[in-house]
């Protein structure tokens, strides 16, 4: 009788473990890290916007890389060939992750905002978006210039923006990225921030 209970309990534990591993595998099915890392070594990198030089800092580019495993990556980098880059990847059939805008903040220094040497924002927005602004911690907004980007995933707007050093020194940083439609209505808001 005791042996039977042990067998039943073992089966239950195994079933729970299989279910858990299945859930975990399912959650991560969208992109295997190793496969993505490999795909990033060969996928073509195309510039879609620019981050202007300012405050003694060199210009940079906003780059899109569409991989053969169905991922679209957006990079902030000095050049298309530079591996010193930062950004993120989404499924190629949903590069905005279900939103009207997908932004990525990159910065060097910190985490205290006053010690940040350079902070930049890159992103993609839906073609129905009329404007993208950055809401700053002092309540003001910075308008981001949009540039049309024709990708195999569809038509989007791309943007790149560099935060002013004067703002950072005064402890003023971004807190959200807001996409608005032609009538001025808010279409999406993505929280962000330094530190």
């Amino acid at each position: 009788m005791r042996g039977k209970r042990v067998i039943v309990a073992s089966i239950l534990v195994l079933a729970a473990a299989l279910l858990a591993s299945g859930v975990i595998a399912g959650q991560f099915r969208s992109a295997d890290p190793e496969a993505l890392h490999e795909a990033l070594t060969s996928g073509e990198v195309v510039q879609v916007a620019e981050i202007a030089a300012a405050d003694g800092l060199a210009r940079r580019g906003v780059f899109v890389q569409e991989t053969d495993i169905g991922q679209l990556c957006l990079w902030d980098a000095a050049s298309a060939s530079s591996l010193q880059r930062g950004g993120g990847c989404n499924a190629i059939d949903d590069p905005l992750g279900g939103s009207a805008v997908s932004a990525s903040l990159a910065y060097d220094g910190g985490p205290a905002i006053e010690t940040v040497r350079d902070a930049r924002l890159i992103g993609l927005a839906d073609e129905d978006v009329a404007s993208v602004t950055v809401l700053m911690s002092d309540g003001s907004e910075r308008v981001v210039r949009l540039k049309k980007a024709k990708l195999s995933a569809g038509d989007f707007f791309a943007f790149g923006y560099r935060f002013k050093k004067a703002d950072l020194r005064r402890g003023i940083g971004p807190i959200a990225v807001i996409a608005r439609g032609a009538g001025g209505g808010e279409l999406a808001r993505q929280p962000t921030g330094i530190g």
Partner: protein, 114 residues
């Protein structure tokens, strides 16, 4: 009861190995459920070159960065809601990867690669 314990331990070990193989890199946190504000760090090494936060999907706000072992400043920090948040820092300094979830809950793991 002892056999049950051994069986359970074996299953846990298998799951842990599966998790490590899943990431395919030096995974320093997860796969696990992340809540807003949760963070983790890797060991210090001069070999780490990139650091990523691999999430169950897009829409989950996360930060990845490198922290050096001298000034403990942040370097090449990236914050976004992409399904994978990446940063690269090709310097020989001793540093550790650090990741943080800014929103929750979601499944994810953080890894550094040399």
């Amino acid at each position: 009861m002892k056999r049950l314990g051994i069986g359970f331990a074996a299953v846990v070990a298998a799951l842990a190995l599966a998790g490590a193989a899943l990431a395919g890199a030096t995974t320093y946190a997860g796969p696990k459920a992340w809540s807003a504000g949760a963070s983790a760090g890797s060991s210090y090494s001069s070999a780490w070159k990139y650091n990523y936060f691999f999430k169950q999907g897009s829409g989950y706000d996360a930060t990845v960065t490198f922290i050096d072992n001298v000034t403990y400043s942040w370097h090449a920090t990236v914050r976004n809601t992409s399904s994978t948040t990446y940063t690269y820092w090709f310097v020989s300094n001793v540093k550790r990867g650090h990741c943080r979830a800014n929103s929750g809950y979601f499944w994810g793991s953080c890894a550094v690669v040399n």
